[in-house]
Amino acid sequence: MAREHGAKRRPGGTGRVNIPGLSTMAALVGLWELAVRSATVELEFLPAPSGIAGAVATLVATGELFPPLLHTLRAALVGWVAAGALGIGLGVVLGLSRPAWRYSMASIEVVRAIPPVSLVPVALLLFGFSLRMELLVIVYAGAWTVLVSTVEGVRNLRPELADVGRMLRMSKATAVRKLVLPSAMPSIVVGLRLALSLSLVLAVVAEMVGNPRGLGNALIRAQQALQPEQTFAYVVTIGLLGVVLNAGLRRMSARALPALAAGRGELA
């Protein structure tokens, strides 16, 4: 820990290619490969990385990967958009109207305390094994997340900006449009990002438990067929999907809100 006095610690990586990082990862993967091949690690069903890579390649080549991938992607995105619309719509109303907020927030907090995962069985009760069940869970969970973030963003308008609005004698509608909503955007975007990860996770869970399609379902089937390479391959796919979606959302929000992204680093 010897450093210059007063120097601030920099997080690892300077934005250039992280050579130590990538080589460590490669080294670990190599070790894994060796361990499996030489049977030093006695874990039944542990596949070698080469096997996993092969399985991924096969799934892509035969096209077997794409139907479940598209199903999950579609469910997650559709659910997310619906959750976002519901959450933002309701959130703005609750954020702007003091009485509405007072007479609903506590209920919302209580309902929110119930983990969305435990609602999968309820959704099964209601809709059986279907896409609708999946969407119900996704929209339900995502909407609360977005709602809470939106309410917070709307309510936390800086008092100085409220003063500016009054000084300029803006009508309520104008003030909402020009001051409240733009100022709430960072908060709303955070909520949307959380909701997106949540949507993907819940889609997979719902598919694992009750939908005969999608990546979650394929994953379970590979596991139950005792196909470790394929199982891992699906896990990797799901992980990558999450990374790509998140990165995509981040790029889009950085482009749509340049002023906030660059200046305040909250969205970075």
Binding site: E160, R169, P182, G263
Partner: protein, 278 residues
């Protein structure tokens, strides 16, 4: 205009110089203000009677916490006075922020919209009230006046504190505000930036002759800039003294501050403040 005349007649005895100045723009009679706090309502201002005349630059001076900002906010229609007070703009009782007045806030970063460029920030007060071409012209004019024409497309967070404050000023100028209410606008700036902005404000005042009410706790600044200083003191605060500042214009940071008259006025103001300990 009869109301305005009434107001002038009811005004406190004015100095000979004041009589030569323009009509009263803002006025308050027996102004009392109570604010809510965690311990219950607190009387911040009491019995304030004052006039602001057209084209004047008036400082509201006092120690921190005396209620200078509150007084300014009352004049700007942002705070309601207690019943029994009279506050008026151009003779009419005040009902919300007056159309012709622009408020310049102390926290410039917080009162600029971070998601708009400088020019769009300056345009905020004009949107919906003029044609696009007209808005563009007035914004460009205002930015030119404050010297920020080249930074029009930047976002506020890229600008220094002094520049951000100038953006706020430009916003008021673009609105062609005849009254500028400024709340310690230069308080957070370093000495050199403060000096240059003071002179810029002077220049704007010479050119366009708006009425300016200027809150500050800096005695030198008050004496340097104003035509008149209202000293606030006591708790609840009242106007302790109304000091006319008759220094020649245009004023200069060095020359004016060497005049014996400047020092005399400084002393008078300091004595008043010290005599009314908070």
């Amino acid at each position: 205009m009869t109301v305005a005349t009434d107001v002038r007649e009811a005004a406190p005895p004015a100095t000979p110089a004041a009589a030569a100045r323009g009509p009263v723009v803002c006025h308050c009679r027996d102004l009392t203000v109570e604010l809510g706090s965690s311990e219950g309502p607190r009387r911040v201002l009491e019995g304030i009677t004052a006039d602001l005349r057209e084209g004047e630059l008036v400082s509201i001076l006092g120690r921190s916490g005396t209620g200078k900002t509150t007084l300014l906010r009352v004049l700007g229609g942002l705070v309601d006075p207690a019943p029994g007070s009279q506050v008026g703009f151009r003779g009419q009782p005040l009902d919300g922020p007056p159309e012709e007045a622009a408020f310049v806030f102390q926290d410039y970063t917080a009162s600029l919209l971070p998601w708009r460029t400088v020019e769009k920030n300056v345009a905020l007060g004009l949107e919906g009230k003029a044609s696009k071409g007209e808005i563009r012209r007035r914004v460009a004019d205002a930015l030119e006046t404050v010297g920020l024409a080249e930074r029009a497309r930047d976002y506020p967070w890229r600008l220094s504190g002094g520049m951000q404050q100038r953006v706020q000023l430009a916003r008021g100028l673009a609105m062609d505000a005849r009254v500028l209410l400024m709340d310690e606008p230069f308080g957070a700036l370093d000495a050199m930036t403060k000096a240059s902005l003071q002179d810029e404000l002077q220049r704007v005042h010479q050119q366009r002759k708006p009425t300016i009410a200027f809150v500050t706790h800096d005695v030198d600044e008050a004496v340097y800039l104003s035509d008149r200083i209202l000293v606030l003191g006591g708790s609840p605060a009242t106007i302790v003294r109304d000091i006319p500042v008759e220094l020649p214009r245009p004023r200069d940071q060095l020359a004016t501050k060497e005049l014996p008259q400047f020092h005399r006025l400084r002393r008078i103001v300091f004595d008043e403040i010290r005599a009314h300990h908070g």
